[in-house]
Amino acid sequence: MIFLLLFALPALALEVGVEVGWAGRAVVSAVNPLWLSLENLDPQPFSGAIRVSAGIGSPWRGEARYTAELPVFLAPFGRTRLVLPWPVPLGMTSLRVEAFAESGVVFARDFPLNLSAERLRAGLGPPPEPVDVLLSPLDFPTDPLLLWPFSKLFVGVPLSAGALAAVRAWAAFLGGTAEISTPCSVSFSSEAFFSHLRGQRPSPPLWSALVPGLLFYLFGLGPVLSRFARGNTWVFLGFLVVFLAFSLFYGVFRETVAHIFLVFVDVECKSVDRFCLELCGAVSRREEAWGLPGFWVEVLPARGWEGLDVRWVYTPEGWRTEAGLTPGRPRFFLRLAEKPGPELAAEPSPPPNWLTQVLRLPWEEARVQRALLSQKGHETEVWRVLLP
């Protein structure tokens, strides 16, 4: 009996409760709040990590996996409640939550999701018409991503500055409707952005060296092969060595150029106080493990989801989004970031055609800036769109 208790103790060390979505309803194709309730049942402090993971997609669309990992420390018999943004794409029907300590897995359970295909109507304070969710001012998030599951929000009580900024950002960039929203409204076409990214190459081949090299090689090879047939093998080998050296030098030079091409689009509205919309597209010319600081949500293509895994890791600097890049498969992420965006030596520029197709906004009022950044292995094109 004592042995049984000893074996059972690690399993009882941590109790985890999970709730996904407002009022327990997870809206599909939106970022939902995921509440984790943690309770340490042990007289010892708990130090470990929580991993939340879920499969997305279908055999027809392709399947991938989302994973979020965060470190946890709980005092003896302590309890806490955490909230994290959790995207729910098509095909996600349950979550797996695992807790790890030094001794190994101390908790693992699957939680089914209660899915809703429609975005919800929510009210804060007494709503003028029936709503799906009634929010309390204490629960109201300051992260606009968590308001994504709402289509309409009735606000009947005064909001804090943070909550007001979140509502305005949600209304401006995520297509929500609220009486307190600003006139700024921006939407995007994911197909147009994918189409632009598909045409991008991290760095095109160095044609000015490659084409003459190829022509010299092929034209020179004819006479050299004839001499080889007459027994002059060393001329042939010498010729080959010269062009092998050329190819090796070409390779050494090309190894230093960028392998990843990133397109950042940053949209800022003056009337939206704290947040801006950031889109990030990435293409790579080889398999790369890639990461971005912050919590980014992937905008998925219509099909071909296999391998589009995303991992969010909570680091001392905050969330970090990690994803793999495969040649020929652009990836598209978005987030609502705090203003101002990164400091850039950006220059005014007319909006290119692809950008006007990607973003639906009043272009006649927009000011556009462009900057090019080059880091080791990365080439980044930044477009900043400023709206009144």
């Binding site: 490659l210 090879l221 092969l225 080889f228 047939a229 080998l237």
Partner: protein
């Protein structure tokens, strides 16, 4: 060291192989869909190498009187020389597709084995199929069938699948082992075939 001279009937096939595989390189680099472009050059190369290797084997069959070990060395040398012709293109393709050196080395090993298997087939075929017209059909028909048919049920047999898989580091050890094994088996086959002819 005295290296063998290229038999004159092989000058045009060697040059043609270099021109066609050289042309395939910019085409694959410019291909609008990068996932297709990455493998296109390799698939063209492996197919052209099969054709050239068959020609090397057939030309060698009727060229000079050499002892079996010398004949084997000649077959291997010309197979390796054909591969060396495409090596500058492969080096450029490696850096443009970001393939790593181990994958590149395994791909070269596969190409060498693949080339030697088809050289052996080209060398041995005249002893089995006497009619030139029928031999032409068997030779090139066999190459097409061996590369295309297995794609549907046993892709590791087809060079069109094995080479891109090795290049991308997706395994394909069975395909590599198969061609290395076949080239090993073809050594005594050439040896015996020469004695018998």
């Amino acid at each position: 060291m005295r290296l063998p001279a290229l038999p004159p009937p092989l000058v045009t096939p060697f040059h043609g192989f270099a021109i066609l595989s050289g042309a395939a390189l910019p085409v694959s680099l410019l291909w609008p869909e990068p996932t297709v472009g990455r493998t296109l050059f390799l698939q063209v190369l492996v197919f052209l190498q099969g054709i050239l290797s068959l020609q090397i084997g057939e030309v060698e069959r009727g060229y000079g009187g050499f002892r079996p070990h010398a004949r084997l060395l000649r077959l291997f040398f010309f197979t390796a020389t054909a591969l060396a012709l495409a090596l500058p293109f492969l080096l450029v393709h490696r850096v443009e597709t970001g393939s790593d050196w181990p994958a590149f080395s395994l791909s070269l090993l596969f190409l060498l084995a693949h080339g030697f298997v088809w050289t052996s087939a080209g060398y041995g075929l005249p002893a089995v199929v006497r009619s030139e017209g029928l031999r032409f059909v068997v030779k090139y028909g066999g190459l097409v069938l061996a590369n295309v048919l297995p794609l549907f049920f046993a892709p590791f047999v087809s060079g069109l699948w094995v080479l891109p898989a090795l290049w991308e580091g997706r395994g394909a050890a069975a395909g590599l082992a198969l061609y290395l094994g076949l080239s090993g088996v073809s050594i005594p086959w050439i040896w015996r075939g020469r004695r018998g002819s």
